[in-house]
Symmetry: C2
């Protein structure tokens, strides 16, 4: 799955994570190439699936989605076999930004974004508790966001040396 990337590719990935709309000519200037090879590299990264897309980063309070909640979910034992059905339900709920199958006491971690506690209560009652197999829900309300970035650091080769 890892793709061969050289230092220029990593620079491109870095810059496009900082500004996904950076014009190709500026990108070219920054990495020290002309526009043609720069564009070719970007297109290749898109083609190979390294760059999966571009998105606008929205201020959540401005659009009335200022409350973030992380829910830990435990499924009932007899439901654990049919996870596909659970997944299908999750995908249909826009308030759930992310859902991870995790190790530990609970089975799933849900990243939920809503307007306020009222809307969260409504979400719990009409959406989450309606999903079959959900046995226990542990709600962790986000009081404040210390850090939240989408940018991931692309290191030189990905091969990591433990000293």
């Amino acid at each position: 799955m890892p793709v061969k990337l050289d230092d220029i590719d990593r620079q491109i990935i870095d810059l496009l994570q900082e500004n996904g709309r950076m014009p190709n000519n500026e990108l070219a200037k920054r990495i020290g190439l002309t526009t043609t090879p720069t564009l070719e590299r970007v297109k290749r990264l898109e083609r190979e699936g390294v760059i999966k897309g571009y998105t606008a980063w929205i201020d959540r309070p401005s659009v009335n989605k200022g409350l973030t909640v992380f829910c830990n979910i435990k499924l009932s034992v007899h439901q654990l076999g049919k996870m596909e059905e659970f997944s299908k339900h999750i995908h249909g709920v826009p308030e759930i930004l992310a859902c991870y199958n995790t190790t530990g006491e609970y089975d799933y971690l849900l990243h939920v974004v809503v307007k306020d506690t009222n809307e969260y209560e409504h979400f719990l009652r009409t959406k989450l508790t309606q999903i079959p197999g959900v046995e226990r829900i542990y709600t962790g309300i986000v009081l404040s966001v210390i850090k939240e970035q989408s940018k991931i650091m692309v290191t030189d080769n990905g091969d990591f040396n433990e000293e």
Copy 2:
């Protein structure tokens, strides 16, 4: 903090979340306006801080960051007063994508992205446990990603009616 948005603004936000690089003329076509007012609206949304930026969405396994971990952190009581110092440390660690101050048994939830468990162990030993005040760490490894999106649903007015 919520900004007045009409239906066209919401369409723009929706489309630019789907494709942050959508050309203005296509955006205009989709929302049924000409390029001029469309561009004006986008610029206004950027100016008002509703659109905070644009970013390329990177495939993490492709860049050797295929392991996601959520860490719950408990700070020692005497450290809880000086959270600014904790924040400063968090901001300097690129593996930590997000850090939330949460309710519940633990104080913070950390969203961590690394290459593998080896690199995570190194991260724990050389980064996380070095932050002063960290008393307890509960590690939740992500076994699989059911859903992961950045797009948030922008509803009509943000005023929510509990039935």
